[in-house]
Symmetry: C2
Amino acid sequence: MFSKACEYAIRATIYIAVQSNQDNRVGLKDISKEIDSPEAFTAKILQQLSKNNIINSIKGPNGGFEIDKKDMSKINLSQIVMAIDGDTIYKGCGLGFKQCSEKQPCPVHDKFKVVRDELKHMLETTNVLELSVGLKKGLTFLHR
Amino acid sequence: MFSKACEYAIRATIYIAVQSNQDNRVGLKDISKEIDSPEAFTAKILQQLSKNNIINSIKGPNGGFEIDKKDMSKINLSQIVMAIDGDTIYKGCGLGFKQCSEKQPCPVHDKFKVVRDELKHMLETTNVLELSVGLKKGLTFLHR
DNA sequence: ATAATAAAAGATAAATTTGTCTTTTATTTT
DNA sequence: AAAATAAAAGACAAATTTATCTTTTATTAT
């Protein structure tokens, strides 16, 4: 559904949120271990998240990544997906036609629209705070 | 959402269905031109569709591809997606975890399940006949 | 039977995504 | 100020997906 990069981005953001909620700043090594992702690749993804103001990065000793507590409920999955994968998941035609539109719809246009709208709504209404709470409570998991 | 291969597979199947409904057997060249796809790559995809009994292929002069009229309402999008992309779209975890399950869910498990079930239902209930009818009627389009 | 046609099969090649390694920059501690 | 730390940036490499080209096989028409 999403790219690997996007999957790691969501995992990382949730993990950073859990830690930030406990006032723990976390480093790359810790993150990639906890979310079970390749370290160097994860570094690149964290850079993108930082550039898109989804997470904060701090260099130097005791540096790492964190999310402002007050922002957590405002960061939703949609923002993360948009930052990493762009808007293809929303805009793109189900059959890959660039010219597909309401006026000139592909054969699956309407059928896909229903699913896509549902996905969009889900991504826009799911925030990082709620996801981190489930994880913190031990109801959900980020690794094997 | 789907791979390019899968997009071409769906396009091709719908186009072949429209033609088969008018008792026209169609060749690779015609198909790839009509659905705006790379010819050689499309050939590979048609082979897979044929192996999965979604379309019939006939070699030699006046050969080509066709779909039995009686099968058209039985072929749904789910079968095409399964034949080309496998069951990852159904089984796969939204965050890419192999161990993700109801018992050990990832943070987005339940949220994704709703969307995935909707997608699955749509793919399983949309058949090639209805899609080809819309195209035939000029309500939908397969190229620019 | 032979030639022509069209898909199947196999071998490659290009493009993209995923992943790694090295050097640079910013920050903190000593 | 110097050393240590940790992320940023850049160059590279591996893997996967997408796409192409050539040869083989099956079928039909002459």
